[in-house]
Structure formats: structure tokens, C-alpha cells
Symmetry: C2
Subunit: 418 residues, 2 copies
């Protein structure tokens, strides 16, 4: 077993070899896609071991996230091909000025260097992260969770062989073999070896990064997303949007966790909502949503009384916090107090309130009359994503290829002095 | 005396009041400029106390950086007016897509929130930082050095009265009264109160931030800048550029600290360089430059033998490290090993080597045939600067108004679900 430090050294040393042409990078990505398909059997075999081991300890949702199938591997390979086809983010001239003294200054996009990612459970993140990093000109260090260790190792083996097929060093994709907290902590402190660390996982991991990281770090993913139903909202649309935001895929970070309803429509709207999310879903054999209601909502509909933490919890489940608010200002204040800065929505027909909400709510994505579920690189037209940043520095919201680049100023002169 | 925490709370609470119109922000900046001029006497009086106290402990360069004059205060006020006249960075639509499902997604620039800056000595940074933060829609927390404490306090008092003249809360510009390490450390840990911390000062401060900061942080300023004179360089231009880069203002971060010379021209070039930087400057009554020479250079010119640390030191003085290298590749390797990622230059007539150098050198600004002294917000056409980032995340190189903004995605729909 290689130590984490050995892998960091290997990746750092491989990086200069990636100053390759666009064509070569893309050829490597296509070779990786081929290898993922060619080594499907090995990957599925490794995955079966992970899934069997996980069954004893995890529920359905986790097992589903962990499980690979031939279709999912084909999807992975297809994803790699799609990334290869995206515009190359490196070397874009972001701004060009010619100064009065004749200096020509070009602000030019460049790779960050070595991007490290700490992630949990889903093995397809392994290939997504590797190819996004490579396409944007970065080397990558992958540190997955222990549940998916064997799957990740098999996927990385295929990726590394793909790199070698294309004449690039396997070391460009480093894979940390220690899945304990120790290796995560070592990555957080690997100054000089890591240019960007992306923790992609639960709130605990993000907090550990915020508290301990010495390398530049982008927090992703925690989403306590709110939808506020204003008094002028189209209520039929609102029911449809809320069901979609909450129940179409509750385990993801852009799912709704808290519903805020204007007091003037709450007596009419909340009973309709309860029917939609519980009885009607049960009739359709869909999982009903448990409502955790604040005292004002409790007067209007049955539900579990909301506990102290229910408005600060990312449930990632068929559970929805429900609160009644006086108006858009109280909704904005509630969001300011409880939001993780991911995705927030207002459903309203008032242009004035929509404008106030989008202006004052401080989050990566602020919606008017749409589901929060759209916060996603693909849905935003970026083609893909490395994660969803919930911080304000460098990148905010879905991180695509451009967000994995920095820039430098290239200044060309003919002897200018100041 | 207010505690650091009290000031952070006051600034955070003032921030929402800044969601003001462009006109109001600019009116506040003009009021600040007026106040700086109107309160010139108080500022100069306070500055005199600082300068008198500093004389006992500091040399000429530091005293010059610290000293204010009526002209410098007029320059400060003029600088404020120029910032007011710059384009407003807030609310720019950076990208707009209309998706096939009808969603309209606008990536829109927004302020970061509360920007804190820890800086040393120069009191004009106080007004620069405050007005850049305000113009870009941020509140600001200022923590200057103890040498300039009285000057900074007087400048902040004028700025706060200017804000009040324009009907904005004085709390938008917080001023930390504790100038000990304790307050700097508290700012580094003020999660929830500070959205961006900019340490602007010596290497020690930057290192403390890297090691201790829990809030998002941008490192600025340390510049071990290299100039490489390639074998094809125009030697007359090279002499002029090197003298400018080293000696026009040695105390600033974009000054050259190390010269690398191609071995094939070193025997001809180094003696000319030595004459230019020592004898000729002495004849003109200019401070001569001390050359710290590596063994190969020592065979060609007299000079102080370079010690172990001389190629890793930001001298900020009339001192230049000199080394002979085999070729552009060795120059690039030397820079990779010793650079702080600030500004690096190649002087060459070879397009191929210029291209290689700009491609492979990893720094905020990479120059061909020009002085490193141009790395500056004004010289780059940004109108101003908050500091010069030497990191790769968020902002690199001179940070102007745009770099003090983040963005959010504003998504407008008509009932879309996923």
C-alpha cells in the first residue's frame, strides 16, 4: 500500500506531463471511456463486494447510490465522452487590454494544478471527478469513502490504464488507499501538493475541512433549501413544484428541506399540500412525505411538531419542515438564519416580491417559480459538474470545467519600464 | 475601547443597509473624499505622532511609507473620487442562458459581504481599502498596524463621518482598535462574520493566515520576482528593465529580487549590469544595488557571495540575487523552486522561449520584455487595487473591484419542475 504522501508526490510530479495539447487530452479521455467499458466485469465484481458489505449497515437509499450496473457503467463512459466533447477551458483569453504604453495584457485561463477531492459513497463520482480535472488541465487526487473502496479502486485502475494508452502518466490520477480520517486530514494539510481541495459529502466532512484545512478549499453540497410560497403564488404550480423539489430525489443536495408559507394563504394551501404529499402519493404507491410543522402550521394541518433542529437539518429524506411566515420579509429573514447558501426559491406572481427575494437572499442559486432541483451543472448548461459550491469565493453553485481553472496575466512588451 | 467582536457584530449588522443604489454609494464616496480634505489637519496631527514614535525604531524607507503630507491626503481624496467614477461591479450579468425548458438563468455579480483586511504601515491603504470595499457593495473591517494606528484612526473617523453625511451607517467601515496579534488571530477565526480576509503585509503575516485562518482568505503581496535574461535578449533594453525593476522602488512587492542570466551571455552582460547598478548609480547619486552572486556569477563579477537564503528572500531593498543558468529550462526550474507566484519576466528575442516561459511559469503575472513593476491594478487598467493575490483561487494578481464580488445564479421560471 502506498502512503498518502507518496501518492501526493507522484501526482505532483506527473502534473508537468499534462501540459499536453487539447487533442492529446481528449484522446486520453476517449481511451478512459474505452477502458471503463472494457473493464466492466472487474468493476462490477469489485462493486458487488462493496454492496454486499454495505447491505448489513445501510438502508435502501445508500445501497442504491452505491450500486453499479452495466447501464450505469455505460453511462459513466458516455459521461466521459461528453466531457471530452466540451470546449477546452484552458488558454481562454478572459480579457485583453493594450495599454497606452504599448503593453499587451492578456488575462488567460490556466489549470489550478493538483485538485483533490474527498467524497463519499457514489462510485461514479470517481470517473466524473477524474475526467473533469483532466479535461481542465489538472492532475487529481481522489479520496473516496470506504463503502465504495473496491469499486473506486477498480474504476481508477481502468482510468489509469486509459491514460497510459494515450501516452500520459498514470500518476495524473492519484488514488488514496487509506480511507480513514487520517488520510482526509493529511490532504487538508498538504500545502505545496494540493492547489484545491473539494470536500464533497455530508455536513461533518465540510465542517472538518472548514476547521482544519490549510490548503485552499471549496465547500460543496450541504443544502438546506427553502421554498417560500407567497400569497400571490399560483397554488397549482406551487403544489407541483414542491412535490418535485421535495420528493423527486430526496437524497440530493438541491432537494427542498423547508417550506415557508405566507400566512394569508396557509389555511387554504397547507391542507391541499398535505393531501398532495401524503394521501395522493400513498395512493400512487409513492413514498409519502412526513411534515414537521411549526406551531402556526400545526393549527391548520396534522403533522409531527417540528423540533428545535428541524429547520436546521438537511434531512435528505421524505421529510419536510413547514413554517408559516408573515410575509416575504419574514421569509427572507428565516432563510438568512437557516440557509446553507445552496438553493432558495420564491413562488409568487408579484414581480416586486420576486425582485426583493432574488436581491436579498444570499445563496448560490435563487429561483422564481421553479423547482430548486435545477441547481446542477447539466441543467445550468455547463455540461457537467464537480460539485456545487456553497461558498462565495472562487466558484459558487455548480462547478464545471471553467471553475477548475485559475488565470494568469501574460504581459508582452518591447522594453517598457515604469 | 470596543472589542474586536463588538466591531464585527456592528459591521455585520450594518451590511444590509448598504443594499443601496449606485448613486447613493457614489454619493457616499464623494462625501468621504470631502471629509478627508476637510479633516486634513486632524489627520496630519495624528500622523505626526505616529511618525515621531516610529523614528526611534525604523529606517528611512518605513518612515517614508508612514508619512502623510497635505499632498498625499489630497491624493487619497482624489483616489476616492476616481474609485467613485469607476463602473459599478455589482449586478453585472456575467452569463445569461435560456434553457430549452424555458428557465432563464443569469449568473449575476454580487458583493462578498464583509471584507476584512489586515495590513501594515501605509496609512493610505486605510482609505483605499474602505472605498474599494464600499464601491463593490461590501462592508469592511480594517485592522492596520500599530505604527500607523493614530493616522488610521483619524482617516477612519473622516470616512465614517462621510458615510453618515450620505445617510449610510458608519458601521459599514469597522476599525479594529486592538493592534496586537490577538485581534488578527480573532479575525482569522471569525466564521460567520467575515466573508473574505485579505492579509496584506509581510511573509510572517501571510504564513500566520495560511496556518490559522478559518475564514476564506486571499494571500497577497509577497513577491520574490525573477527576471531571466535569455541569450537572445536585447542587452540595452535588459539593463534598463532590470534597473527599473530592482531600483525604481525596491520596497514594493513587484520589485525584482533575483536575476537569472543565460550562461552564454553572462560574461558579456554581467560586467555591464554591475556597472549600471553600482558605479553609474553612484555617479548619479542614486543608491547602488548590492549584488549577491552565485558561484558562476562570482567568476565574472565581484559581489557578495549569495548565502543559502538569498534566493528565497524578499529583500525589499537595494539588493539583488544573481545566478547564471544554462538555458530557459533551468530558468523555469529555478523559478518553480523559488517563486512566490507574483511576477516573473523573460527578456528574449526568441518567440519560442517567450512562449515556453509564459506557458510554464506559474505566477500571477508573466512578462516578456517588460519590467515586473507593472503588476499593479492601475497599470493593468483595473483603475485601482485592494492588493495583489499570489494564490490561484478566486483572484490572482491585482485585485480590483470585480475581484471583491462573488456571483449568484438568478433563475426565473414559470412553474418548471425536473
Amino acid at each position: 500500500m502506498k502512503t498518502t504522501h507518496e501518492i501526493l508526490v507522484e501526482t505532483k510530479n506527473a502534473l508537468p506531463k499534462l501540459t499536453a495539447s487539447k487533442e492529446r487530452k481528449n484522446a486520453a479521455l476517449l481511451a478512459i471511456a474505452d477502458r471503463l467499458l472494457a473493464e466492466q466485469k472487474e468493476i462490477l465484481k469489485a462493486n458487488r463486494l462493496d454492496v454486499d458489505a454495505a447491505r448489513e449497515r445501510y438502508g435502501e437509499v445508500m445501497i442504491d447510490r452505491l450500486t453499479l450496473t452495466p447501464e450505469r457503467i455505460a453511462g459513466m463512459a458516455q459521461g466521459v465522452r461528453e466531457v471530452a466533447a466540451l470546449p477546452d477551458p484552458e488558454g481562454r483569453v478572459l480579457r485583453r487590454v493594450e495599454r497606452p504604453n504599448g503593453l499587451v495584457i492578456e488575462k488567460t485561463s490556466v489549470p489550478l494544478g493538483v485538485v483533490a477531492i474527498i467524497y463519499e459513497s457514489r462510485p461514479n463520482v470517481t470517473s466524473d471527478a477524474a475526467v473533469l480535472a483532466l479535461k481542465s488541465g489538472n492532475a487529481v487526487v481522489l479520496r473516496g469513502g470506504k463503502e465504495a473502496f473496491r469499486s473506486n479502486a477498480a474504476i481508477v485502475a481502468a482510468i489509469r490504464r486509459g491514460l497510459e494508452d494515450a501516452g500520459l502518466p498514470a500518476g495524473l490520477v492519484g488514488f488514496i488507499e487509506d480511507t480513514s480520517h487520517l488520510s482526509a486530514d493529511e490532504l487538508m494539510r498538504a500545502v505545496g501538493y494540493i492547489d484545491l481541495l473539494i470536500p464533497r459529502g455530508g455536513a461533518g466532512l465540510i465542517r472538518r475541512c472548514t476547521e482544519n484545512a490549510k490548503v485552499p478549499c471549496i465547500q460543496t453540497g450541504t443544502g438546506i433549501c427553502h421554498i417560500f410560497v407567497d400569497e400571490t403564488a399560483d397554488q397549482d404550480k406551487a403544489l407541483r413544484i414542491i412535490e418535485n423539489a421535495k420528493a423527486s430525489r430526496p437524497s440530493v443536495c438541491n432537494a427542498e428541506e423547508v417550506l415557508l408559507v405566507h400566512k394569508s394563504i396557509a389555511p387554504e394551501f397547507l391542507p391541499k399540500l398535505r393531501r398532495r404529499l401524503t394521501d395522493e402519493r400513498a395512493e400512487k404507491r409513492l413514498a409519502p412525505v412526513e411534515l414537521r410543522v411549526d406551531p402556526a402550521a400545526a393549527k391548520l394541518i396534522p403533522g409531527v411538531p417540528a423540533g428545535e433542529k428541524d429547520f436546521d437539518t438537511e434531512f435528505l429524506d421524505y421529510i419536510l419542515g413547514v413554517a408559516v411566515v408573515d410575509d416575504v420579509d419574514e421569509a427572507i429573514a428565516h432563510i438568512a438564519a437557516h440557509s446553507t447558501g445552496h438553493s432558495e426559491a420564491i413562488l409568487t406572481e408579484s414581480a416586486e416580491n420576486a425582485d426583493k427575494f432574488t436581491r436579498l437572499v444570499d445563496a448560490a442559486a435563487v429561483y422564481v417559480n421553479a423547482s430548486t432541483r435545477f441547481t446542477d451543472g447539466g441543467e445550468f448548461g455547463l455540461g457537467c459538474e464537480m460539485g456545487i459550491s456553497t461558498q462565495k469565493l472562487h466558484a459558487r453553485g455548480p462547478m464545471g470545467l471553467e471553475e477548475l481553472n485559475s488565470y494568469k496575466y501574460i504581459v508582452r512588451g518591447s522594453g517598457q519600464i515604469r
